[in-house]
């Protein structure tokens, strides 16, 4: 092999290595840009959900205020005390959701929207009655359950997807209880005022390592019928 040929081989080999190096660098750069874009998208999606959580808390604040002393002419007045307990419980779960979303957004290098930046305005046609507050809550919870579920179509982060599904499942619970009350299928039961927190016993469905979830709720035990 001549020196010239050796040198040409070396140049070829070096060129290929350089090409591979440039290719790898470009790919890494593309990955980095892709990851950054995905993270930015996740933060935007999570912030929209966080905003809705703050709105829900403010809506429940208004409802709790009204349920405490409904208008004397309000036909739903007798439901006020039980409705207040449920509303306070749901509100506390939305506050829990807000904190979890906020922490996740921060961990993704984003800036969570602040609660003070969100102002809830009742929708057009809304007047203060017990039934209207229950209707408003049902509409909001349905909208939230759908929004959380649809967010799964675009979230890239595994952790974000897990949290969003865990919260969305609870919003669906809130919705169906309100829906059944409003449809007249269900009424507050004997334990409605003493065990209101059991109407949605955990703030999330399942998150790895989280003890305050449906995953840790014990199963019901089976009972035998009395002897006839």
């Amino acid at each position: 092999m001549s020196n010239e040929e050796l040198s040409r081989r070396g140049a070829l080999g070096g060129g290929a290595a350089l090409l591979a190096g440039v290719g790898a660098a470009l790919a890494v750069s593309a990955i980095s840009r892709d990851a950054e874009a995905q993270s930015t998208n996740d933060v935007q999606v999570l912030n929209a959900l966080l905003r809705a959580e703050y709105e829900a808390q403010q809506a429940y604040d208004l409802a709790v205020g009204y349920f405490g002393s409904p208008d004397m002419a309000d036909p739903g007045r007798s439901l006020g005390p039980a409705a207040a307990l449920v509303a306070m419980h749901y509100r506390s779960q939305h506050a829990d959701h807000g904190m979890r979303l906020s922490r996740l957004i921060t961990s993704l290098q984003g800036t969570p929207v602040s609660s003070s930046a969100v102002v809830f305005t009742p929708p057009a046609g809304f007047t203060r009655t017990v039934q209207n507050f229950l209707r408003l809550a049902a509409n909001k919870e349905k909208g939230a359950a759908v929004a959380y579920t649809n967010a799964l179509k675009s979230l890239a982060s595994d952790t974000a997807a897990e949290l969003v599904a865990a919260i969305g499942g609870v919003e669906a619970q809130h919705f169906i209880v309100l829906y059944l009350l409003l449809k007249g299928v269900a009424t507050p039961g004997p334990a409605a005022t003493t065990m209101a927190s059991e109407i949605s016993p955990r703030p999330v469905v399942a998150i790895a390592g989280e003890t305050n979830s449906l995953a840790t709720l014990p199963d019901f035990e089976y009972t035998a019928l009395p002897m006839s």
Binding site: L12, I31, A165, V177, L225
Partner: protein
């Protein structure tokens, strides 16, 4: 440069460079890795649970059709049977969508015939135990879907799991709230609105059917 050996070597070197780029991009993107789609196994586990739920509701329906004569809740079995059949239908709809997704990503869905249901230890025939069994199964299903979502790779898979999970959580909370006496059924309302007890099988729309909470109109204010 006419030596075919040199051309071939260049081609190989160039190919390696290109391959290194592609494989690196594949590490961070959504490209499907070589081999079976990783979502097939977890989706098939969820499908198996759906078939188990269908069979558990069959067992429950059998008891609700003819509750024991000494069952103090026997009088409530008729409306519960209607609800059980509606919810069994939800689970069948979930199974159909899961099987379709599994097939679309190159997998083979488990068959309903391959899944059997065995009543848990301590279970005996009564209306109350049917409610407890259903609540336990629905809670477990909701948790299983949520847990699976973190491991599913494709957003399509995650979305389907999420939209089903929200239905399982609705089934669960209705049963749980009844069993805990936090809510009671209103007999008159139940007769006219029995199909409203968890009215849709999905939370967000799947396909083009009006099969989700999205298709339920908002309440209007009076």
């Amino acid at each position: 440069m006419t030596d075919p050996n040199k051309l071939s070597r260049r081609a190989i070197l160039g190919g390696l460079a290109a391959t290194s780029s592609v494989s690196l991009v594949g590490c961070g993107g959504d490209e499907t890795p070589a081999g079976p789609n990783p979502d097939i196994t977890p989706l098939n586990a969820l499908l198996t649970a759906e078939y188990e739920a269908i069979k558990a509701y069959e067992e429950g329906a059998r008891i609700l059709r003819m509750p024991p004569t000494n069952d103090p809740q026997a009088s409530s079995s008729a409306p519960l049977l209607v609800i059980a059949m509606n919810w069994q239908n939800h689970h069948r709809t979930h199974a159909t969508q899961l099987a379709s997704l599994i097939t679309s990503i190159g997998g083979t869905p488990v068959t309903e015939a391959s899944v059997s249901f065995t009543a848990p230890t301590g279970f005996s025939a009564s209306v109350g135990n049917v409610l407890r069994l259903a609540a336990n199964k629905e809670r477990a299903a909701a948790v299983a879907y949520n847990t699976a979502i973190k491991s599913l790779k494709a957003t399509t898979s995650r979305f389907l799991a999420g939209t089903i999970e929200g239905d399982e959580t609705q089934h669960f909370i209705v049963l749980y709230a009844l069993l805990k006496s936090v809510v009671s059924a209103d007999p008159a309302g139940l007769i006219t609105n029995i199909n409203e007890v968890v009215p849709k099988p999905f939370v967000a729309q799947v396909g083009t059917d009006m099969n989700s909470l999205q298709s339920i109109a908002d309440f209007t204010f009076a």
